[in-house]
Every structure is written in structure tokens, then in C-alpha cells.
């Protein structure tokens, strides 16, 4: 397995090596040591590669991932797995702001906490946070699922579209047009599948509350003017 030491090898070489992997290749496992907060580690993956990053990364780790499995054995800076298309990204530590922003598919698992704007503008990604998330999370979230085992900060799901939010702990406040919704059997099913995929074993889907869009901002209406 190729090992890239980012104190010795330029990041460009590592990312290029990932991009050079052809579909169907046998050698698809990579290890990164000494990431030391580098930005844009393992971005633009478009093959089923497996990347283990031994340490913490800066901005946009695994950005636009399409099919790769990236594990960060440390914490991640802002925008981890932004605009992910497919694949899996696991952060063993905490994640900074905008985790999973605009993600369109795949699974992002954060074993620690995530800061503000987790899942902002998400478009189909599934995000599971073992800890808590910060304020303005799932702002304008369009689709996909955000699962939070801990608490959510202020203004959760502001201006939400069709994304589903599941929170086990407390929610400091809901954003405009976000409301608590009934947990129906199909939601329990989705949730238990996600918990299983994210390696969560000691928690039951029934412990969560579901939040979604009241759909009141979907058409311009003068009586909602103060919410725009």
C-alpha cells in the first residue's frame, strides 16, 4: 500500500495519484501520514479507493468524493466531504464548520462533534454525527438525512427544503420553516439503516425526533414576509 508522508511529498502528488487510479485497478488502498492540517487532502476522488489519513486535516478533506472511502484518524477542518457524490467519509474526531456542505450522495460519519452549518445546503448526502452539531445546521438543506445522536444548536433547519433531520438530544431552536414532524415507520426504517451503516449499535431509532420543512416558504407569500 502506498504511503504518502505529507511532510515529504507535495499534496499535489498524492491527489494526482488518487486521480490516476483507473476503475477496476487492484491497488486502491492509500495511507497518508503527517497530514498536519493540510487543506484539500484526498479531494476529487472518482474511483473506489480506500484512504486512511493518520492525523488531522484542514479544509475540504475528501471534497467532491465520488466513490472513495476516506477515514480521517483525527479531526477535520471546515467543509469536510463538501459536495460528496458517493462513497463514505469517516471522521474519527471532530469536524469543523460546513461538514458535508451541499453533499449529493454518500455517507459522512463524524464520530465526535460537528461545528456550525453542518449539512448546509445538503442535496442527498446522509450525515451521521455521533456527538452534537452547532448552529444553523442544515440551512437550506434540500434532501438527504442528517442524524445527530447528541444535541443541535440554534436555528436548526432554517429555510429547509426536503431533507430529513433526526436529533436524539435537545434542539436549541428551530430555524424558519423547520418543524418537528411525526416519526412514521418508514422514518424508523431509514434511521435504523443509517445508524447501522454508521456503526452505531447502542442507540435505538425510537430515541430520535424528526424535523422537516413546514413548506410554508415554498411560494412567496406576503404574510410570510418577515421570514424571508
Amino acid at each position: 500500500m502506498p504511503v504518502f508522508d505529507l511532510t515529504a511529498t507535495p499534496l499535489r502528488e498524492f491527489n494526482q495519484a488518487l486521480h490516476d487510479v483507473k476503475s477496476g485497478a487492484n491497488d486502491t488502498a492509500f495511507e497518508v501520514v503527517n497530514p498536519r492540517g493540510h487543506h484539500s487532502v484526498a479531494v476529487g476522488i472518482d474511483a473506489p479507493v480506500v484512504v486512511d489519513v493518520r492525523g488531522s486535516v484542514g479544509y475540504y478533506c475528501a471534497g467532491m468524493n465520488d466513490g472513495g472511502t476516506v477515514t480521517v484518524h483525527g479531526s477535520a477542518g471546515p467543509g469536510v466531504a463538501e459536495n460528496m457524490m458517493s462513497g463514505t467519509v469517516v471522521i474519527e474526531g471532530d469536524a469543523s464548520q460546513y461538514a458535508g456542505a451541499t453533499g449529493r450522495g454518500g455517507l459522512l460519519v463524524i464520530k465526535g462533534n460537528a461545528a456550525s452549518r453542518c449539512g448546509i445546503s445538503m442535496k442527498g448526502i446522509d450525515i451521521v454525527v455521533h456527538g452534537s452539531i452547532g448552529h444553523m445546521s442544515a440551512f437550506m438543506a434540500q434532501s438527504g438525512n442528517l442524524v445527530v445522536l447528541g444535541d443541535a444548536g440554534e436555528a436548526l433547519g432554517d429555510s429547509l427544503y426536503e431533507a430529513r433531520l433526526f436529533v436524539r438530544g435537545s434542539v436549541k431552536s428551530l430555524g424558519a420553516d423547520c418543524i418537528e414532524k411525526e416519526m412514521r415507520p418508514e422514518h424508523i426504517e431509514v434511521l435504523s439503516g443509517l445508524l447501522e451503516k454508521a456503526g452505531v449499535t447502542d442507540v435505538k431509532p425510537e430515541e430520535f425526533k424528526r424535523y422537516g420543512s413546514a413548506r410554508k416558504l415554498y411560494t412567496f407569500n406576503i404574510d410570510n414576509a418577515d421570514a424571508y
Binding site: 487543506h39 479544509y59 475540504y60 459536495n83 460546513y98 456542505a101 440551512f139 434540500q142 412567496f220
Partner: protein
């Protein structure tokens, strides 16, 4: 003694003119601000307020048609492995599929390709049609990230990070339900028929330090091949240009307040942002101060209509221009041949701006398949190419008259201003003087 008041003609207020009063009544009736397409309708200092001096004894002209006047431009020479080479310095600005019909997007791609220039996607993603018909396609990276994906990034010829637009610096987008057809909804991952809002800020970066990291990420994803543009609305052009350069942009796109929009609040279009004329010199100054003029290219847009406008923008220091509204007019927008239908919509050819309603008789700003079918993309593409050629010939005519063998050799020195305002904004002398306001610190 009785006093007889002699009849006087009725006099309307300049402050409360017809349009103002009509807007007050409209607001009172509906309770919602006016949304429309197009650019500012008020008169602001513009390229019309500048003139070229032409050649004389101290400058000799080039022979029209006989002596070459080059028009080509290369964009993205700073960092990109594959810069874009254009035959003419007039590009087609970003306009979304969604705001425009598929046929209109195809026509823009065809016309631009025939004329040897680039076209640009918009807020809504890249369609196969426009990719297929555009030799050079710039892919916009917008706050909404609708349809954003790495495959399209890789098949683009350049990437344009949109920070703002001249029509609405600091504003997000909107596409009203009438235009959210099933295909548009699918591309944007939204429910059909809803009034869609696009964010005004990028979701995963805020200031210039973040932007630098973001640009670096986009370069890493695309293996440093693509030129990266940064588009800003005309707000603080000196600082915006300097910060875009600092963030690693290859190209700065600067869109003045006259710039068109698909749908924005009228109050925004008319009251926020600086006129294109006032934006160019500060942006060029920033590039020069950083030693980056011509190294980082500057594309100017907002109210470009003719070869004279192109020549003036270039003379003030731009490397290229972009056109939106004019391109739509060339392919048939607001054409008097649809007058009867404009009337039915309560408008008239030349004034129709309810582009957000999706009922465009010309089939351009609509998602209605029947209306869209009215636009023949092949013919419309040909018309756009013709228009681009005329603009280029016009600009060359002026450049030759000023003795230049490349459009880029035009200079501020070749210009004078007709008004004090234009002289101040463009920093060229008022006609007949050697002075402009601000020169010599007064």
C-alpha cells in the same frame, strides 16, 4: 373683482413621475416587491459618455481592411495548465438553464462557437446540450451549487466562482415556480413548481482567506488544468479585484450595475452597485498595483452593446468583455415581431422584463416547451455569431483609427469624456481639456 385662473398645462412631478406612482400603486395592491429581469433602467454614466480621439498628426492610423488588427485573447495564463484561447474578446456571460430555455442555451453555445468565443453555464448546472454545442464552456461555481458535480467540473474549460452579479451585488438568486419544470427541478434537486431561492453567500467559505483555500481545492480536483475565474458585482472594484488576485484567481470578471439578471427585486437592480464605467479603472489600478495587469485577465460586463463599448472597455484596461442582455436580444428577445403578444402581457417589445414569469413570447426566458420551440437554436446561433462579428469589426474599426494593431493596444489616452461624471469615473480628460475631476488632487 373676480380672479380668473388662466388654464395651464397639467404638470407632473419629476419626483413622483408616472413610473414611481405606478409602483406605489402596485405595491399597495400586492404587498410584495416588484421582481423583474434585465438590468437597471435608469440612466447612469456609461460608455456613451466617452469618445475616441482617433489618429491625427501625432498618431497615424492603420489602413482599414488592409492592415491587421488582432482581436484574440488568452484567458487563464497565471496558473492553469490549459488556458482558454478566444478569437475575439467578447464572451457570453453566465445565464442559467432554468432562467433560459434549453434552446436558448444551445443557441448561445452555437453562436459563441461560430464566433470563436466562450459561453458560460449559470445557476442551475450544466446541460449536455450546452456542453455539446460550446467549444469553450465556462462552468459557474455558485453559492447554490445546484447541479454541481466533479464530472462537469472536469468537462468544463474553465471554472467561474461567482461571488456576485452587477445587478444585485450581495443578493442571491430566485427562480419562481412557473419556471421550475420537472427537468429544472431535477437538476437543482428541488420540488417542482416551488419558488426557489438561491443563497447569496457560498455555503463553505466566507472571506478571501477561505476563498484562496477553496480555489486551491478546485484546482486540486481538476489537476490544475482549468483557468479559475472569480466573478464579482461592481461594489468595491479595487478591493474585490485585489482580493480575487490574492485568492489565486486566473481571471477576474467584473459586472457593473447595468448587468442583466433573470429575476431580481427592482429595488435591488436600480439601487445597489456601481455603474460599469466607474468599476473598470479601480479594478485595473488594483491589477497594476499588484503587478498583475494582463497576468490576471479582467473581463468586464454590464451594458455592453456594441463594438464601441467593447473598444472603450478594452481601452480602459479590460482584457475582454462579457455580454448577457445583448446576446439575448441578438437571438430574439424583445423582438417587435412578437408585439401583439407583448401587448397581451401588458408590455411592449423593448420593455418586456417579466422574465421570471416564464411566458416569454420569444421562447427564450421560459421553460414552456411550446414557447421554447419558437426559438430555432441553429438560426438563433447564426444571428448571435453575426452580431459578435459585427461588434468585433466595429471595435477593430475604432482601434485602427487609433493606430492600433491589436484591440489590447487601445489605451485610456485614446479617450475623452463628454461629461464631468464620465471624466471622473473613467479618469479620462473632459473633451477639450487635459483635466478630469480628481486629477491633481482636485
Amino acid at each position: 373683482m373676480s380672479y380668473h385662473n388662466p388654464p395651464t398645462p397639467p404638470r407632473k412631478s419629476a419626483t413622483f413621475d408616472d413610473a414611481t406612482m405606478a409602483e406605489i400603486r402596485r405595491a399597495a395592491a400586492t404587498g410584495i416587491y416588484d421582481i423583474r429581469g434585465g438590468g437597471t433602467k435608469r440612466k447612469v454614466p456609461h460608455f456613451d459618455d466617452l469618445l475616441f480621439l482617433g489618429a491625427s498628426i501625432s498618431r497615424y492610423p492603420l489602413e482599414g481592411y488592409r492592415e491587421r488588427c488582432e482581436t484574440s485573447v488568452t484567458l487563464g495564463t497565471r496558473f492553469a495548465k490549459k488556458p482558454i484561447h478566444l478569437k475575439i474578446p467578447i464572451t457570453i456571460a453566465g445565464m442559467s438553464f432554468g432562467a433560459l430555455s434549453g434552446n436558448a442555451k444551445e443557441a448561445l453555445g452555437r453562436g459563441a462557437t461560430l464566433a470563436g468565443t466562450s459561453t458560460t453555464t449559470g445557476d442551475g448546472g450544466m446541460t449536455d446540450e450546452e456542453r455539446g454545442h460550446s467549444q469553450s464552456l465556462v462552468y459557474q461555481y455558485l453559492p447554490s451549487r445546484y447541479g454541481m458535480n466533479p464530472k462537469d467540473l472536469r468537462r468544463a474549460d474553465a471554472i467561474e466562482v461567482v461571488v456576485g452579479q452587477g445587478a444585485k451585488p450581495g443578493g442571491g438568486g430566485m427562480l419562481l415556480g412557473q419556471k421550475i419544470s420537472p427537468r429544472v427541478a431535477k437538476m437543482r434537486n428541488l420540488p417542482e413548481g416551488i419558488d426557489q431561492r438561491s443563497a447569496c453567500r457560498h455555503p463553505d467559505w466566507t472571506g478571501p482567506d477561505d476563498l484562496e483555500i477553496k480555489i486551491n481545492e478546485l484546482r486540486e480536483i481538476t489537476d490544475w488544468e482549468k483557468p479559475i475565474y472569480v466573478k464579482v458585482g461592481g461594489a468595491r472594484p479595487y478591493y474585490d479585484t485585489a482580493l480575487a488576485v490574492k485568492s489565486g484567481a486566473d481571471v477576474v470578471v467584473l459586472d457593473g450595475m447595468q448587468g442583466g439578471t433573470a429575476a431580481t427585486q427592482d429595488v435591488f437592480i436600480e439601487n445597489v452597485g456601481m455603474p460599469t464605467l466607474a468599476c473598470i479603472r479601480p479594478a485595473v489600478q488594483a491589477l497594476q498595483d499588484l503587478g498583475m495587469h494582463r497576468e490576471v485577465q479582467l473581463i468586464v460586463s454590464g451594458g455592453i452593446r456594441s463594438g464601441a463599448d467593447v473598444a472603450k472597455a478594452l481601452a480602459l484596461g479590460a482584457d475582454a468583455v462579457a455580454i448577457g442582455t445583448a446576446a439575448l436580444v441578438a437571438i430574439g428577445d424583445n423582438d417587435p415581431k412578437w408585439e401583439e403578444e407583448y401587448r397581451k402581457l401588458g408590455s411592449t417589445a423593448g420593455a418586456y422584463d417579466d422574465w421570471h414569469e416564464g411566458k416569454d413570447p420569444a421562447g427564450i426566458t421560459t421553460q414552456d416547451p411550446e414557447l421554447a420551440q419558437r426559438l430555432d437554436p441553429v438560426l438563433a446561433g447564426r444571428r448571435l455569431a453575426n452580431y459578435l462579428k459585427v461588434m468585433t469589426l466595429e471595435a477593430q474599426t475604432i482601434a485602427r483609427a487609433c493606430g492600433k494593431n491589436h484591440l489590447h493596444n487601445l489605451e485610456p489616452e485614446d479617450l475623452c469624456a463628454l461629461t464631468m461624471e464620465a471624466a471622473a469615473m473613467a479618469q479620462v480628460p473632459l473633451a477639450g481639456t487635459s483635466w478630469y475631476p480628481g486629477k491633481g488632487s482636485f
